[in-house]
């Protein structure tokens, strides 16, 4: 589904992302782990076309994301770390806008997200102004907005920061369901327990890959009991935030 070849990103003298090679398959939930500044967000921003790599290549479904950027962009959904729906629009109008810029007729867009709207219990708030919604609802609405054009590839940049544990579990349930339907999910997080939901994770430090693989296998390989310990072990320091 998505493939990167020795991906680098420099900001001046600073190398934010260093030689990342990934092969992520369809229907996979792939996690980016690491402390703040480890290069997760920079990598994700390159993968979804917001940043140009300094060197290396990225292809989605065999399409180079620079040369075929329009086709690639139509296939990906993105939920940014910062809440970024329009506060002065109704929830429904936000969805309508995103359907519009992906050229999906609104009725079809609503059918695309019908299921997740019900799952998230959002039907009753669609006529509310977005800035009147509580944080948890905003978060869920952001995910719905990223899905209106039914993209096969979904990027979630720290989607659960600032949300209570119950809402986080529900959120991950929805992510899991999306993956079951064949969507590829790329997610970054600094909650270690969330890594367990991922099929595979990459742990990054200073822009480099320090570990890559299935969470259970990684734990076995390093003989640790949980992701928190794995993290301490591979990074050598207590570098992660826990709940």
């Amino acid at each position: 589904m998505i493939h990167t070849r020795s991906l680098n990103k420099d900001f001046g003298d600073f190398r934010a992302v260093n030689d990342i090679n990934l092969e992520i398959g369809k229907g996979e939930i792939f996690g980016f782990l690491g402390a703040n500044g480890a290069g997760k967000t920079t990598t994700i921003r390159m993968l979804c076309g917001l940043l140009k790599p300094s060197s290396g290549g990225i292809s989605v479904d065999g399409l180079d994301i620079v040369r075929h950027s329009d086709q690639v962009k139509q296939r990906l959904g993105y939920m940014s770390q910062k809440f970024s729906l329009y506060p002065d629009l109704l929830a429904l109008e936000n969805l309508e806008f995103y359907a519009g810029i992906y050229q999906v007729p609104f009725a079809k867009a609503l059918r695309n997200v019908e299921e997740i709207i019900d799952q998230f219990d959002l039907r009753s708030i669609l006529k509310f102004r977005t800035d009147d919604l509580p944080m948890g609802y905003k978060q869920r609405l952001s995910l719905v907005a990223a899905l209106v054009h039914d993209p096969p590839l979904v990027f979630l940049d720290e989607p659960t920061s600032g949300v209570d544990p119950q809402a986080r579990r529900e959120f991950w349930q929805a992510i899991n369901d999306l993956a079951h339907k064949g969507k590829t999910i790329i997610v970054s997080t600094h909650f270690m327990d969330e890594a367990e939901y991922c099929h595979r994770v990459i742990i990054m430090q200073d822009g480099r890959e320090v570990a890559l693989g299935n969470p259970a296998e990684l734990k076995a390989m390093h003989s640790v009991a949980n992701m928190q310990d794995l993290f301490i072990k591979v990074l050598g320091v207590e570098d992660a935030k826990s709940e």
Binding site: C48, G49, L50, L51, K52, S69, D70, K73, Q74, L76, Y78, S80, K82, F83, S84, L85, Y86, P87, D88, L89, E93, F97, Y98, A99, G100, I101, Y102, Q103, A145, F155
Partner: protein, 360 residues
Amino acid sequence: MPNLNRIRAIAEKEVFHILRDSRTLAIIFIMPLLQLIIFGYAMNMEIRQVPLIVDDQALNSDSRALVEAFVQTDYFQLVPHREGNLRPEDLFKERLAQATLSIPRDFGSQTQQLFLKIDASDPNSAQMIQNYATGIVNAYAPTATGGIDLRAQILYNPDLKSSYFFVPGLIALILVMICALLTSISISREKEMGTMEQILVSPVSATEILVGKVLPYILLGLIDALLILGVGMLLFQVPFRGDFLVFLLFTFLYVLTSLCLGLLVSTVAKTQQAAMMMALGLTLLPTLLLSGYMFPISSMPPLLQKITYIIPARYYLQIIRGIMLKGNSIQHLYQAGLSLMLMSGFMLMVAARRFKLRLS
């Protein structure tokens, strides 16, 4: 190729923002009216009731008739004579008078000479006082000025009303300020909120974003122009001698140019505050000083004259004065119109380019 559906989606969303944001609506409708009224009443450049001291040495029927001619106009007001012993310099220093008129003892019989001294610490007023005085003297005794009899006729604004001058100028000034503000704020706000990022991951291109943003504001800009024009005509009795459609067409071009200027600003400014400062800085003073609004371009130093070519209001002033006061039609104005078109095309292109560059 820009995609019309995507442009429409962006334009529609922008309309929602405008309708729901009372701050923007205030900028659009209240600010022009306030400016029009403040400028309109503060920038009144006509001079009335200039304090004049007459030193009449002749005291004959001719001199009395002449003084009478001065007093009868609204332009001059006679200051009581007891101050007349002071020298003009002292009178001016004390601000007792702005002009003195000396009539020699043998006026009317031997000589036709008069002496007018004017306080030119404000040169504009001094110039006008001189014009008024010359006019009065000429009207009183056309032949008195000697062999050559020049009768100047002032066209388009025979009463030299300053409203004829500042209302068209204010339309030019207010439109460029508001339009540049609107687009620059609208884009930098999306950057600040992070919503721009959400748009940029979609297939929408830079041009589509910019065009979609500009479209609703073109309409607003035109409504604003009509509002200022209407209120200007109502409050200050400015004529409108040209064709209304020509006005709409050229005003559309000017609004477009101003909006594109705002787009350009938004590709430089990182925050709404910065965008606001930059948009105002690029429009307010340059338009006031370098468009030919306040100061004639022909009297500027050569370098400044060249700079005026990149001030959109330079062209629009020609257009709006031409339409309102002279009744110009398209064939008189197409050059200015073309310049505006070129400018907006150029700025839109640069803005789109810079917009893309920011991504890498």
